[in-house]
Amino acid sequence: MIEFEQVTKRFGSWTAVDAVSFTVAEGEFRVLIGPSGSGKSTVLRMINRLIPADEGAIRIDGEDIASLKPEELRRRMGYVIQSVGLFPHWTVERNIATVPGLLGWPKARIRDRVTELLELLNLDPRRYRGAYPHQLSGGQQQRVGVARALAAEPRILLMDEPFSALDPITRASLQTELSAIHRRTGTTVVFVTHDMDEALRLGDRIAVMDHGRLIQCATPLDILTRPASPLVRDLVGREEWGLKRLAVETVGDRARRQESVTGEPLAAETPLHRALSEMVARGTERLPVVDGDGRPAGVLHLSDLVRPTSGGVVPGGTA
């Protein structure tokens, strides 16, 4: 658990972070979003003390980070940045092994861990273990960057616009993989971005910042449906609002459980905008739904997309 209590950071006369308080729960995927200069990156870099706080307290699992040695604190967290920052003179394996090496893991365990991580990030260990960073594409470099951050099994992963420099296809696949890794490992993630679509897609909760202040901290659904300020509404944008709205809920949330219909079924965790696309493609207004085990889980009607039914569960929206 990460707690910020009245944290302030000034650079000269400019207040980058202004009396910010929030809590990130254990295992949560928290996105920090805001315009340039809103203080989101500063907040992130205060968590691993790359930037020291001027006022207030930052606690991790109840422990004030000011009482820890910065290097020890950082070795307990993964850190991924937009420009990756792989060591150009080290192989992929040695890059990934950096923090385990600092922590003094045995060689065999490091080697196994590198193999495991390369497989997790869809990089063939036999091919990429001994490669140098300059031999990799941008997307592959960031995969290694994520693997390196996860190497010592950190309970907290800090990511500063990690996918912003990648092409849309690579970005989408890394987003999907990151979601899967987060679900599997239960790591707490703090993720900075300026891209609202990315925030809506990845975040359990989204914290919107502006001028060093926290404007709103809420679930993607609440950010869309109950924006706390005009800035939040602008960040979401009017364009394709309806599709974004659909994207934050799944087929399982809206399906009519008791009904059944024939046809190729959709998985319950499919986002609703994909279901809409599927209906248009198939020329139908009703789609069968199956749960994670492939058992029938009801039927989704076109009208359900427009207005939630009693059968749909709206995720808890406490701001």
Partner: protein, 388 residues
């Protein structure tokens, strides 16, 4: 015709072979000699064989640029140069028979032009062959070995430069040692002061702004002037502290001046090398929990090493050359032999001092080039320089 550079070299060598004197023969070292053309120096089968690579070299600009053709050019250029030396040695020995012991046979302009053309053609071809620093050094080393073999066998003993050497065997060895000592003695303080200063200039902009103008000015002061400038204060200091051996002339002012000259490339390249380490790499290192010391040793140092080594290369080559001038203020070294020759109007004595200076500089340059190549290879290609 496939190669203009080689053609130019071959033409120069051909003109020199026909129009310029190959050797000069004088009754003693003070008189200017009568010219000995190349055709007069070629005697018997051995002489003709020594020139055979030259005939091959004549054809090389017209060879197709295949690996075999370029390889042949490398071999022909190198062997031609070594053959010229052999020919000079043989002719000198022939001329020495029946002449007085004071007679001198020296290299003349034709020899220098042809030898230079042969070497340059070989080096140019080695580069076109794609040989790295080590490969090019091997080519140079092979030519040097062929000449060294002739030296060791006594084949060249009748040449004037070796007669000068025979008269000064011990002085020569001392001079080489002294020369190298001067360079090393200047390098130690240069590195001890220069590296920390370079690191400081990288970390604090104000340090760089203060240091670089001063070092730049020092570089522009002519060496003799700098030696002269140091004489007065050091002489005064020596007078104040008798018994310390401090004096305005001798090795001390030479080492101080060499150090002052050597600082700029070391400080500048240390700073530039560190400036070149990508900021995200350092940021990631810090974010992963490397200590400042670990970041310096594991990230900054290896990534800045190639640039630092090229600064060291400039420094060493420059110091080897400048140390020769230091003989003027009584620091000794190979410069002393050169100046002795200049003042006595004995050109071969000048050569006896100058050739080892050149060889020292070339050897230092080659060794450091290999170091730079190895350091560059070990860090791969820096991000941004290569497409993924």
């Amino acid at each position: 015709m496939h190669n203009r550079v080689a053609l130019l070299m071959v033409l120069a060598a051909a003109v020199a072979a026909m129009a310029l004197p190959f050797l000069g023969f004088a009754p003693n070292r003070l008189l200017s000699g009568r010219p000995v053309p190349l055709w007069a120096a070629v005697q018997g089968l051995g002489g003709a064989a020594a020139l055979l690579p030259g005939l091959v070299l004549l054809a090389t600009p017209f060879l197709r640029p295949t690996r075999a053709g370029i390889g042949l050019t490398v071999a022909a250029g190198g062997l031609f140069t070594a053959g010229l030396v052999w020919l000079a040695g043989a002719q000198a020995a022939a001329l020495a028979q029946g002449a007085s012991a004071a007679a001198r046979t020296s290299f003349a302009s034709g020899f220098w032009v042809m030898a230079a053309a042969g070497l340059l053609t070989a080096i140019d071809a080695a580069r076109r062959l794609g040989l790295g620093a080590i490969g090019r050094m091997a080519v140079g080393g092979a030519v040097a070995a062929l000449v060294a073999l002739q030296l060791a066998s006594g084949h060249l003993d009748a040449l004037s430069i070796l007669k000068e050497y025979a008269n000064r065997r011990e002085i020569f060895a001392d001079a080489v040692l002294r020369h190298a000592t001067l360079v090393v003695a200047a390098l130690v303080p240069t590195l001890l002061i220069g590296i920390p200063l370079g690191v400081a200039a990288h970390r604090v902009q104000a340090v760089g702004r203060a240091v670089f103008p001063v070092l730049n000015v020092v570089q522009t002061v002519p060496s003799i002037a700098l030696f002269g400038l140091l004489m007065a204060p050091l002489a005064a200091l020596g007078a104040m502290l008798p018994g310390t051996g401090i004096s305005g002339v001798g090795p001390l002012p030479a080492v101080i001046a060499l150090t002052l000259y050597s600082l700029l490339p070391i400080v500048r390249n240390t700073a530039v090398g560190l400036d070149g380490v990508p900021a995200p790499v350092r940021e990631a290192a810090r974010g992963m929990g490397l200590t400042p010391r670990q970041i310096f040793l594991r990230v900054d140092l290896p990534l800045a090493l190639p640039v630092f080594l090229s600064g060291l290369r400039i420094t060493v080559v420059q110091a080897v050359g400048l140390a020769a001038v230091a003989a003027l203020i009584g620091a000794g070294g190979l410069g002393a032999i050169m100046f002795q020759g200049l003042f006595a109007n004995a050109l071969d004595l000048v050569l006896l001092g100058a050739v080892p200076v050149i060889l020292l500089a070339v050897a230092a340059d080659a060794l450091l080039s290999i170091g730079i190549a190895a350091a560059t290879h070990s860090i791969g290609v820096l991000p941004g320089k290569s497409a993924p």
